[in-house]
């Protein structure tokens, strides 16, 4: 897995967005349309389109609608972006306005 990861990293760094490679499964937990949540949704979509075009699956979950998931995923701070795949799982809190930090969390940083 370790080698897989470093391989992926090197490919991303050279090719940037590379469709057909590792698929990203992301979950963004928000609370209704609160300002932080609304910003997070916009930022998530923008980053995914820009860096993961064609190989991402972004599920936006409103924990107001599904409070059970908040328990299941041990959520406290919101917005929360969880990178489910590729492993390892990574959790990022905040409105995703710090793109650099998000890329680091997604393992896409150079």
């Amino acid at each position: 897995m370790m080698s897989n990861k470093s391989q992926a990293k090197s490919k991303f760094s050279t090719h940037g967005a590379d469709p057909g490679k590792e698929k990203y499964i992301l979950r963004l937990f928000v609370t209704g349309m609160l300002p932080n949540s609304a910003r997070a949704i916009v930022n998530a979509r923008r980053i995914c389109e820009q860096y993961l075009k064609g190989r991402f699956e972004l599920e936006i979950i409103d924990i107001y609608q599904q409070p059970g998931l908040a328990l299941q995923e041990e959520i406290i701070a919101v917005p929360l972006l969880i990178k489910k795949s590729p492993l390892p799982e990574e959790r990022m809190i905040g409105d995703l306005s710090d793109t650099k930090m998000v890329l680091k969390g997604l393992n896409l940083a150079n």
């Binding site: 609370t31 997070a40 328990l71 406290i76 919101v78 809190i93 409105d95 710090d98 930090m101 998000v102």
Partner: protein, 501 residues
């Protein structure tokens, strides 16, 4: 204080929720703010978690209010034990949907921060927990864990928001936290957001640790400002308020004989009042224990129950010594009328002694209590503490209509030297003093009634003799005493004294 809160009822006051914790509802004048958050601060090991749990368990048992316990620290096993010690089965309460436990771990240092965030996740989870069992009470234990996981500036705003949000949920909340937490105290958060702040401390004075509770703030309510000692025993928390139900004490006019007929004569010919407190004071070897034992024997013979608390001598020793003056205590123990409480004063602190005694009174259903001697307990802490504790204890006994006799190694002289002792003599109803005096160049015991509230007591000083047949009071005049017989008697007494010491 109770009076004040009654007066205030006419004005606008916040409704209160009884905690069910013994004593706490008294000093808060009826509990903590209903449907509002209360901050419970204290150092580690002060009893915050137990207090929170008791609040929930009593809510379920006494007020049929289901409760949510949110723990930010992993200690579910401990919680079960604590709840069990209060006489409830945690698993059953959970199954019956009376209590809901949730552990919210705070993962620190693992999460990346990518911008602004809030703690809505926490709100959603608390909200879901409340909804799941229709809770009316919530405990968040403890908030400190949150401070480690998140950005300080965001937390500050979120904390205020949490309080506001909790108020909207129409639940009565206890939030616990470290007393020394800079976030809570020095930043003054609690000043603005919490309506009620309770502070628990655990201080060691004279090598004895005492837990204390203070109401730092209670918006819109009159409250006691003092630090109130509290203890945690196997039945939970007891806060010991100085101002107890004493106002409503019932004053009996029933009389109780002292067991010494001459003394009864001195006390308006009828003896003590039932439910009153009697102090027998005097220097060493003046026969205080003998008077107390005579009293205990006389009430037990009348099929009443008496608890004899011996702090100086072991029960066996007391029994042996009393046998020598014709007071047989063993049969009274066997017949279930006399009970002994024996503990070294140093074994535990004074409050625990009093609690243990209270428990024994409840168990044995005693209506008479002897504390012999009270002065031994008084070495156990600064005088003012002792006095307030004794006052509370006497208050309790009076409310329960229990007649109590204390013995104490104090005299008028010692009171003059040490005015703090006065507290004891002023809180008792009857004060009997035994002294050594000189009559015709010989030492003799004397007895007088210093005071006895509500009766025309004798002001005589009587000669006081202890023989094989027990205690006898004589006239002080030397001529009336057979000198030879008296010499023999005093020799005997001397023997008795030397064996008892």
């Amino acid at each position: 204080m109770l009076k004040n809160s009654k007066l205030k009822k006419g004005k606008l006051t916040f409704p209160k929720a009884m905690t069910g914790i013994r004593g706490l509802d008294l000093i808060t004048g009826g509990g903590i703010p209903k449907n509002r958050p209360t901050l419970l601060l204290g150092d580690t090991g002060c009893g915050k978690t137990i207090m929170g749990l008791e609040f929930l368990v009593h809510g379920i048992a006494s007020f049929n209010e289901p409760g949510v316990f949110i723990s930010f620290e992993e200690k579910s096993a401990e919680l079960g034990i604590n709840v069990q010690s209060l006489g409830f089965d945690l698993n059953k309460l959970i199954k019956d949907r009376k209590i809901y436990l949730e552990h919210i771990p705070i993962a620190s240092g693992r999460t990346l921060e990518t911008g602004k965030y809030g703690l809505e996740g926490l709100f959603v989870r608390i909200g879901a927990a409340i909804k799941s069992i229709h809770a009316r009470r919530v405990v968040l234990d403890s908030m400190d864990s949150l401070f480690h996981g998140f950005d300080f500036r965001i937390l500050r705003a979120e904390f205020t928001r949490l309080f506001t949000w909790l108020k909207e949920q129409k639940v009565t909340v206890i939030i616990t936290g470290e007393a020394g937490n800079a976030f809570l105290t020095s930043k003054g958060v609690e000043e603005y957001v919490a309506d009620c702040v309770l502070l628990l401390t655990n201080r060691v004075v004279n090598q004895i640790a005492t837990r204390r509770l203070r109401i730092v703030k209670y918006r819109g309510s009159v409250h006691g400002n003092n630090e109130y000692p509290f203890t945690i025993d196997e039945n939970g928390i007891i806060v010991l308020p100085e101002i107890s139900v004493s106002i409503n004490q019932f004053a009996s006019s029933k009389r109780i004989l002292s067991g010494i007929s001459e003394l009864d004569v001195m006390l308006d010919k009828k003896g003590f009042f039932a439910g009153s407190s009697v102090l027998v004071s005097g220097t060493a070897g003046t026969g205080k224990t003998s008077i107390a034992a005579t009293f205990a024997q006389s009430v037990c013979i009348k099929k009443q129950r008496c608890l004899y608390c011996a702090f100086e001598e072991a029960p066996n020793q007391v029994m042996r010594n009393m046998r020598s003056i014709g007071i047989l205590l063993e049969p009274l123990i066997k017949s279930g009328h006399l009970y002994f409480y024996y503990a070294r004063p140093t074994l535990q602190n004074l409050e625990l002694h009093f609690l243990a005694i209270r428990k024994m009174i409840d168990e044995t259903k005693s209506t008479f209590v002897v504390l012999d001697p009270i002065t031994n307990l008084m070495t156990e802490g600064p005088n003012s503490d002792i006095r307030s504790m004794l006052t509370r204890f006497v208050d309790y006994l009076k409310t329960e209509q229990i007649t109590v006799m204390f013995t104490a190694a104090i005299t008028v002289g010692s009171i003059e030297r040490n005015p703090s002792d006065e507290g004891i003599s002023s809180m008792v109803d009857t004060w009997i003093m035994v002294q050594d005096i000189e009559v015709d160049t010989r030492r003799a015991r004397s007895l007088c009634v210093m005071k006895s509230r509500g009766m025309a007591h004798s002001s005589e000083v009587r000669r006081f003799n202890i023989s094989k047949k027990g205690i006898k009071l004589l006239d002080i005049a030397a001529g009336t005493i057979d000198t030879v017989a008296d010499k023999k008697r005093s020799a005997k007494e001397h023997e008795t004294l030397s064996t008892s010491k």
